[in-house]
Symmetry: C2
Subunit: 251 residues, 2 copies
DNA sequence: GAGTGGTCTAGACCACCTT
DNA sequence: AGGTGGTCTAGACCACTCA
């Protein structure tokens, strides 16, 4: 719905509302009303340009806004798509990614991108209480929901606790392997979360533009002796996750 | 540091790295090295434009990127500033905003923006287990750290549990008032968190641009009888908060 | 009133995805 | 090969903040 003529420069429609917000609202309500289903592709930017009679930059502003809200996402140089629903993550439950995604009627998958032995830098050495330089397992994995990559995780494991870890199938639940193969039982979990932007190396692996908003989840798991079992950085697409915690003092 | 000539259009410096990312890196490292202290103001966009010899749109792209990362923020039509450190929020601890901000050597403040009695819409009525239309207290408050507004909260309280609530000083800890004045003791907390964009009404109260990335925290507190004491939506600036949870199965 | 960011236009070339 | 988004330019007017 073109707004007709608008003065160059200036500030938008007859109502004083910026054009890009008006377009945002149109698309948002199209999504809300189901005219654009989850996973559906939006018209191209140039198409929207001619449809609405506004400049491409303005169109893109509306699109960025919707992306920040988590309503749409882009596939690099392919197009803009409606975001699927987010998955709910509960850091107080010990079940891993694979289980809780299945519990929510979605299809998880995990790819091992790399595993290497890395000399512990200072900060990480502190976490594991080893001397800096001690070799540690570093795994990088990509996890997807319904075929869409949603997070990159970088896990550090002490090979003293899990020798020969690389010989197992690491394309599934690591927690399970550590439990069944190495008898490592997690009794304490420390979790940190904060909004972040996905920097180039992560963004490339997720096939998103660098700077896309994300959520960083840092997880440290301990066993009964207070040893660190897993030290894990998860970089999530911000529109793919929702955190839920339910705590009862009495229990 | 101007990169010299660049072809119009195209894709940036001799290294193939986009200009806006190069500028981002410059500013980011200036912040990291302390050349720009927390709270400091950046040069104006037009100043950066002449300094770097790039178009204003490109400058702004770098700025948006840094904003998404939480490194800088803007004050509407005033300028861009270096973000202060984020506050750590632990949903498993029962202490309120005022206490945990003070614990982190910062200065909190709270303003009551409005309090009104609102007929419960369906969703909210469900939460409180009352019939839709029952009048409930709605408070809107703005909370700041070191004088910078960081969150808007909308709290719903059942007046049946807290009659005459509006006669108390609501510019401080609500949890304390409910505890000491109404003997309401929270034994269970349910917390949901998700990245969001701050929509117009919230953005105006925080004095940020609509669409600024944020974090929504929804908190539901119950007493021993399972009654809902507080139902609270907190809209945070995304660069102001960091969530931390530490859970021990054994305790 | 000078300066700031906010919105907008109308072009351009490029790298990459898709077919 | 054609279309898509990604990057970039060089202007403009506006609403607002600040001194």
């Amino acid at each position: 719905m073109p707004s007709g003529l608008t003065l160059p420069g200036g500030r938008g429609g007859e109502d004083g509302r910026p054009h890009y917000l008006a377009l945002r609202d149109q698309i948002a309500s199209a999504i809300a009303m189901g005219k654009l289903a989850a996973g559906a592709r939006l018209p191209s930017e140039r198409q929207l340009q001619t449809d609405t009679g506004t400049a491409r930059g303005t169109i893109r502003e509306a699109l960025f806004q919707l992306e920040a809200e988590g309503l749409i996402y882009r596939r690099d140089r392919s197009g803009w798509y409606v975001s699927p629903p987010a998955i709910t993550y509960d850091p107080t439950r010990w079940t891993g990614f694979m289980s809780y995604v299945i519990d929510q009627q979605r299809t998880p998958s995990t790819e091992l991108l790399s595993i290497e032995s890395v000399a512990a830098p200072m900060g990480v050495a502190d976490v594991f209480r080893v001397v800096p330089g001690t070799p540690l397992h570093h795994l990088t994995r990509r996890r997807s929901i319904d075929g869409r990559a949603v997070l990159i995780e970088r896990i550090v494991v002490d090979p003293a606790l899990a020798p020969g870890l690389e010989q197992h199938d690491l394309g599934g639940s690591l927690t399970r392997i550590l439990g069944t193969e190495y008898a490592l039982k997690v009794v304490r979990n420390r979790v940190d979360m904060r909004p972040c932007a996905l920097t180039t190396s992560i963004a490339d692996m997720l096939n998103v533009k660098p700077g896309t908003p994300g959520l960083l989840v840092v997880r440290t798991s301990f066993d009964a002796e207070g040893r660190v079992i897993e030290y894990d950085h998860e970089y999530w697409r911000h529109d793919a996750i929702r955190v839920h915690v339910d705590l009862d003092i009495r229990s």
